[in-house]
């Protein structure tokens, strides 16, 4: 029962976003602001984790690839595919669910509990479209870009460890990268990135927007939001893999 009422309210929030903006310029400004907040704001953490996840997957793959019959360049190929298919979209989005999700939930939760949302409503502004829509749109614009950056940095991280620890030479690694490369994987990863971006922005927005109470509830809402979006990201990951691969 509770599940259906939550789902219903969530769908109402999404539906409520689609109205004519009161003032295009202000909405545009808000969208740009959110792109900076979400995109630039998480660039640092995304860069760090992508380099490391590339490095780790290279080191672990090398550890398992002991058979002399398998060419050394396979390492590059394996790192490329794991990074593109799984690590860059899923791992990055799980981390972003924490970074971006808690930011969105607590920002909206604070605005709700200090009546700032009511104040906007009283002015005659549709807060669903002014506050929520730009956040979701900004996530849809910037998160796939972050995922693409993560792909490059991950693959580069793998190359870095491989050459530094003399597992394979840079040339061999690069040769592996080009072996049997299919663009489908990239499209698939982007499809995941868009889905996850929507999840990790809209779920926290929903929990933040509907906060009742004070600081304690804001904290609780942002925890629920992050946990729920993480679970949904993994669930969607599985569904997409089953459907598209």
């Amino acid at each position: 029962m509770k599940f259906f009422s939550v789902l219903g309210n969530y769908l109402l929030l999404i539906k409520g976003m689609f109205t004519r903006p009161e003032n295009i310029k202000m909405y545009w400004k808000e969208l740009m602001h959110q792109c900076v907040e979400i995109g630039i704001g998480s660039l640092g953490i995304v860069s760090i984790i992508s380099v490391f996840m590339g490095a780790v997957s290279a080191a672990q793959t090398a550890y398992q690839l002991t058979n002399p019959l398998i060419p050394k360049s396979t390492l590059g190929q394996i790192v490329r595919d794991t990074v593109i298919l799984e690590f860059a979209p899923t791992l990055v989005c799980i981390v972003l669910a924490g970074v971006v999700g808690s930011k969105i939930a607590s920002e909206l939760g604070n605005m709700r509990s200090t009546e700032q949302i009511d104040a906007l409503e009283i002015m005659g502004i549709n807060t669903k479209s002014y506050l929520v829509a730009p956040k979701i749109l900004a996530a849809l614009i910037t998160i796939p870009l972050l995922v693409v950056i993560a792909m490059f940095l991950g693959i580069w991280g793998g190359r870095l460890t491989s050459t530094l620890t003399n597992i394979v030479s840079g040339d061999t690694y690069d040769k592996g990268l080009l072996d049997g490369f299919s663009a489908i994987n990239v499209y698939f990863a982007l499809a995941k990135a868009y889905t996850f971006a929507f999840i990790i922005s809209s779920i926290p927005a929903f929990y933040g927007y509907n906060v009742k109470g004070g600081a304690l509830e804001i904290g609780r809402a942002s925890t629920t939001a992050v946990v729920t979006s993480c679970i949904l990201v993994l669930f969607a990951d599985y569904i997409l893999a089953a459907l598209l691969l």
């Binding site: 009161e22 003032n23 104040a119 009283i122």
Partner: protein, 287 residues
């Protein structure tokens, strides 16, 4: 003028407003008073549509707000200013941008014209030197003033204030009260103020609605309120002994008993007997 007819509102199975009717007049400071939890905030939120009423009707200058579609309401709301109990300033924006926000959203004025209006409004509420501060950096009284400035920057026809002076010292409260009354007259607004501050009631209570447990208990103005016969109202306004004494004094004064300092001293010496004194006794004594 805002008219409400038999407004009812409940949450879950708890009835908060049990059929309230009232008229809030244009150009006057209309007060809603009552104890904590009597439903003042709920009533005000119903008036502006933050809560939907369960039944009854709300009429803004002859137009039924209750039956308006969302677009019409949005249009009307551009003529509504509201000061919230906790000010509700946008904490990511400076004072200046807070006040400028409604102009940015709803006008296509030039930047200079907007800034002129913002500065004039901030001056109107006696705020100087705070333009570039953030809400977290200013005092409670200043926040209320910024809230008022933001509410009136578009020259609204209706102004709602939820406890404009809660948490303020008596002097600052008075300044805020008088400010609200002044701008009400100046812009000929329909102003509705929630309060349980007796100073405000006496000072700016031109049309007072007393709420008791979700019902209208008494209506009148600040001249009438001290003579009201309603026991519940008297209990509320004359909650302290000091105020009860003050009321007795005022009653005597109205009857013309206390007319000079000498008499005043008499009263102080023996208040009981003076209270019971009729018109005839008075003449005897003063001669």
């Amino acid at each position: 003028m805002i008219e409400i007819k038999d407004v009812k509102k409940g949450f879950d199975d708890k009835q908060i407003l049990k059929g309230v009717s009232a008229v809030f007049e244009t150009g006057k400071t209309n007060l809603i008073i009552g104890t904590s939890g009597s439903g003042k905030t709920v009533l005000q939120k119903c008036l502006v549509g933050l809560f939907e009423v369960d039944s009854g009707e709300i009429i803004y200058d002859g137009k039924s707000f209750t039956h308006m579609v969302e677009d019409e309401r949005k249009h009307l709301r551009q003529q509504i200013g509201m000061l919230f109990q906790g000010s509700a300033l946008f904490d990511s924006m400076t004072v200046q941008r807070n006040v400028k926000f409604p102009l940015d959203m709803f006008t296509d004025w030039s930047h200079d014209k907007k800034m002129k209006q913002v500065n004039e409004t901030l001056e109107r509420v006696n705020l100087k030197d705070a333009h570039n501060k953030f809400p977290a950096e200013i005092s409670g009284g200043m926040k209320k003033r910024v809230g008022i400035a933001r509410a009136i920057v578009l020259n609204p026809k209706y102004l709602f204030c939820d406890e404009p002076n809660s948490g303020l010292d008596p002097q600052t409260s008075m300044v805020i009260d008088l400010l609200i009354r002044e701008i009400t007259k100046e812009y000929n607004m329909t102003t509705i103020i929630n309060t349980h501050d007796m100073n405000s009631v006496m000072e700016i209570g031109e049309n007072i609605l007393y709420m008791y447990q979700g019902e209208r208990e008494w209506v009148g103005n600040n001249k009438e309120i001290i003579f009201s016969k309603s026991a519940k109202l008297n209990e509320f306004i004359f909650a302290s002994e000091f105020l009860r004494d003050a009321k007795d004094m005022r009653m005597l004064e109205e009857k013309g008993i206390i007319d000079n300092d000498r008499n005043m001293e008499d009263v102080m010496r023996d208040p009981e007997s003076h209270l019971l004194m009729g018109e005839n006794d008075k003449r005897d004594k003063s001669e």
